[in-house]
């Protein structure tokens, strides 16, 4: 080899060597016993839960703050929270007995005055500031629809809430993450300051927020429930890409990851260092049919589509079986679910008959809108759309698949510009009203009722159910409403999916909550 030729060889060797040397670090250090790193898809928007509507915020705040009432560990039953007892005689006046000796992270005492101050803060806001308050309690102070008449303190540890009219899901609403009781001392400093420096009574207190990177919270030593929390520190890391998040878990950089693709479930179950965790389902994925756009104004056409779509194949192929076929617009775990409904069977012949009856013996052309983003209720919109497209082709309907970027998609669909669109919903409080009324009532056309479906009889049932305090009667009303929805078929309900998480084997005490906000106070490493 001449000297001339040596140069390139030496250089390549040098490059390879330097890369290898740089790379030879220690592997990631073994996890300490008391710090949990939780990988998730996105950063929080704010740490003041009352001001936002997105789930990533509540994942953190549910560990920083507490609510007057809690949901059950893995359901949406009502349990004691900061209020140890509550009662009402007439569904209009609620009395809450508060836990005593509770302190906020900043040392402020938690008492009836603090609760009143929180409710005052929300009631004097506006829809832009406290969006959830207005949608759950019908507006703000002075508004026609505002359901809360007054919130008053009766002594140090009793709060009395008076309503203008009965509100059936009132206690469930109180238990929602966004109505967390915050330290009045902290929010008196100004809303924007408070959004970055949250102070609650929860098991963990806030340490640091690095935008788009991580949020760190640590054990609150003065927590009122003895022996909790078990962990010393939790770091919420944002890792947007699902594959990268799984890689980080496999590499041991994070201990717990949510938003696991159904297609990766097998890989995790086959890994002896990991465990697959299933979140109880409280969602629905559906194909909405815009009833203002012919031919979907005809009931028979909508029913035909219900018979044409093969849900089982969709679930087996793209949800990897981690879902149940849907027949109603809400999941079976919710009180009021009508199990007597006979689902539309997959039957292309019947679908063709219905089309002929509606006057479309040779089918028609339509646009099918496919979701551009993965969501727990719809892991892969584009692929599911292809199955639906071929199902429709079987009965003579030519469907053209279209998709837009998510913001555009929602905007156009809400204006009623889609023939048929895929969408879904995850419940907030486990109440039927939060699915049926929100998604299908005429009051919500323009916001969440994208199908523009209207039915006067159903509307009356919903309005009655909202103020019906007798649970059995309420269930009856919702069952009737579901019969109407089934008959009118504004949707093709597709699936109730089981969202997946994965964690290190050593992690115990983690109970994922159907709302998606997980309390981590009992989590620890074996």
């Amino acid at each position: 080899m001449s000297r001339k030729r040596m140069w390139p060889v030496a250089l390549i060797l040098l490059l390879v060597l330097s890369t290898a040397l740089a790379a030879c670090g220690k592997g990631s250090s073994s996890s300490k016993e008391d710090t949990l790193v939780f990988g998730r898809g996105n950063d929080s928007t704010s740490l003041d839960p009352s001001r936002v509507t997105e789930g990533e915020t509540f994942k953190v705040t549910v560990n920083l703050y507490e609510t007057l009432l809690n949901f059950g560990e893995q359901d949406t039953t009502i349990q004691p929270g900061l209020a140890k007892e509550w009662n009402t005689d007439d569904g209009l006046t609620y009395t809450f007995q508060l836990e005593e000796g509770v302190k906020f992270h900043d040392g402020t005492d938690f008492n009836a005055e603090a609760v009143v101050a929180n409710f005052e803060r929300w009631a004097n806001g506006d829809a832009d500031k406290f969006p959830y308050y207005s949608s759950m309690f019908g507006g703000f102070k002075g508004d026609e629809g505002h359901v809360i008449e007054s919130v008053t303190a009766d002594g140090e540890y009793t709060v009395i809430i008076k309503l203008k009219r009965p509100q059936a899901p009132f206690l469930k609403n109180i238990a929602m993450s966004m109505f967390a009781i915050a330290s009045p001392t902290a929010f008196a400093k100004g809303d924007d300051e408070f959004a970055r420096n949250p102070v609650g009574t929860g098991p963990f207190e806030f340490v640091e927020w690095k935008p788009n990177e991580s949020i760190t919270i640590k054990k609150f030593d003065g927590y009122w429930q003895k022996g909790l929390p078990k962990l010393n520190k939790i770091v919420f890391r944002s890792i947007p890409d699902n594959s990268a998040r799984l890689n980080a878990l496999l590499a041991g950089e994070i201990d717990l990851a949510d938003g696991i693709n159904p297609s990766d479930a097998g890989k995790i179950e086959g890994d002896d260092k990991l465990q697959l965790i299933k979140r109880p389902s409280m969602n629905i994925g559906y194909l909405g049919l815009t009833v203002t756009r012919p031919p979907f104004d005809k009931k028979e056409v909508r029913q035909a589509l219900n018979h044409a779509i093969d849900k089982e194949t969709i679930i087996n192929s793209f949800f990897e079986g981690q879902a149940n076929a849907a027949k109603n617009p809400m999941p079976p775990s919710i009180s009021g679910y009508n199990d007597d409904i006979e689902p539309y069977e997959y039957n292309p012949e019947k679908a063709k008959e219905l089309l002929a009856k509606a006057g479309y013996p040779n089918g028609f052309e339509m646009e099918l809108w496919a979701m551009p983003v993965p969501r727990p209720y719809m892991p892969d919109g584009a692929k599911v759309a292809e199955v639906i497209q071929s199902n429709l082709a079987d009965i003579g309907i030519k469907a053209k698949i279209v998709s837009y970027e998510w913001g555009t998609y929602l905007d156009k669909a809400s204006k009623g510009e889609a023939d048929a669109f895929m969408l879904g919903w995850t419940g907030d409080n486990g109440d039927a009203d939060n699915f049926l009324y929100v998604l299908l009532d005429e009051d919500n056309i323009g916001s969440n009722n994208y199908t523009y479906f209207k039915n006067a009889k159903m509307h009356d049932l919903f309005i009655e159910a909202q103020t019906e305090v007798d649970e059995d009667k309420r269930i009856e009303l919702y069952k009737k409403a579901q019969e109407i929805i089934h008959e009118e078929a504004p949707w093709v309900p597709l699936a109730h999916s089981t969202p997946l998480l994965a964690a290190k084997k050593e992690l115990t005490g983690f109970l994922p909550h159907p709302t998606g906000s997980d309390l981590l106070s009992k989590v620890e490493f074996k």
């Binding site: 790379a23 250090s29 770091v235 970027e405 905007d411 969440n448």
Partner: protein, 334 residues
């Protein structure tokens, strides 16, 4: 020289103004309602209306534009619609993360790209030349997310040499002072953390460096080939100078100008275009900041971030132009 710089800076004003206007109009042309996206699927009609009124989105576009422009002139970059925080406060941590990664990547790209290009030109048509140019072609055409995930799989999962994602060892977080973690760790004398920060830079840095590395290598090679054929190189060789010095000193000095231009452009690209790398490696940089803002139609954030990046971009160009003069005394500024 000074008057030249002054003139160039004055020329920036209309450029940046025009850019602000174009971005302003473009993002409003995309369908999508910020209030709905920010309030989420759970938003009510009243909440959206209240939000639009508060954000001034119900006013005509020219009112909104001049309001925004007035703010810019007072040094106010506006407020994020989503987080309600001043963009000026939010932008720095993201920009710092991107600058750290981009500088790391461009340094790798320059060192390897220039050397590969020079050697390729020196041994034109040798096996090294062919391999380097094939690699450069692959580098330019390989999708970054594929390369990134591949890197994670090989170096993080198979060999456990490097971390998969992020900027730091989260179990031992860096206390941010300047948000440039290399500097922060040095200031605090935490060399263990500096080591971790460097390890986190390697994979995304290499993924990000691939394209500029390939482009720099190709540019260097063609520019060098041109110079190597000129008379003075033959003269230098004839005088018995060692080939190494001829190539690296005489030839490269004259070949460097177009390479410099490419480096400047690539640097600008890295600052604004690292969105894919930042997504795969969960790197909290400006690319992801803008990407999120676009998804939520967070107008002030998009406008101001693009403005800041554009400003940096034109500044880099100015610096490159000034460097020409230092390198090649035939170039005069007047």
């Amino acid at each position: 020289m000074l008057s030249y710089v002054g003139r160039r800076l004055l020329q920036l004003v209309p450029v940046l103004l025009g850019m602000v206007f174009i971005v302003f109009m473009m993002i409003r042309a995309i369908p999508g309602n910020p209030a709905q996206l920010i309030l989420g699927q759970q938003a009510t009609v009243e909440a959206m209306a209240a939000m639009n009124a508060k954000l001034g989105l119900d006013q005509p576009w020219y009112t909104q534009f001049f309001k925004y422009l007035g703010g810019i002139l007072r040094g106010d970059l506006g407020e994020s619609m989503r987080t309600r925080l001043p963009v000026a406060d939010e932008i720095w941590p993201h920009l710092a993360a991107t600058i750290e990664l981009a500088l790391f990547a461009i340094i790798i790209a320059i060192i390897i790209g220039i050397n590969a290009g020079i050697i390729s030109a020196w041994f034109q048509n040798s096996w090294f030349d062919y391999i380097a140019m094939i690699l450069a072609l692959i580098g330019v055409s390989m999708p970054i997310f594929w390369l990134g995930l591949l890197g994670q799989w090989v170096f993080a999962l198979e060999f456990s040499w490097l971390p998969t994602t992020g900027r730091e060892q989260v179990r031992d977080p860096v206390h941010a002072i300047t948000n440039l973690y290399i500097i922060d760790t040095i200031i605090q004398g935490r060399f263990d953390q500096l080591w971790q920060v460097m390890r986190h830079l390697i994979l995304p840095g290499i993924a990000l460096a691939t394209i500029p590395m390939a482009i720099i290598a190709r540019m260097t090679r063609s520019s060098m080939l041109e110079v190597m054929r000129s008379d003075y190189i033959r003269t230098a060789r004839a005088k018995g100078q060692k080939m190494f010095w001829v190539v690296y000193k005489h030839a490269f000095k004259n070949a460097v100008i177009p390479v410099l231009t490419v480096i400047g452009l690539q640097m600008g690209m890295l600052l604004g275009g690292a969105i894919l790398t930042e997504t795969i490696f969960a790197w909290p940089g400006i690319g992801r900041y803008i990407y999120d803002a676009i998804n939520f139609r967070d107008y002030p954030v998009i406008q101001s971030s693009v403005l800041v990046i554009a400003f940096i971009f034109v500044m880099i160009n100015l610096v490159v132009d000034l460097l020409y003069g230092l390198i090649d005394s035939r170039i005069k500024y007047d």
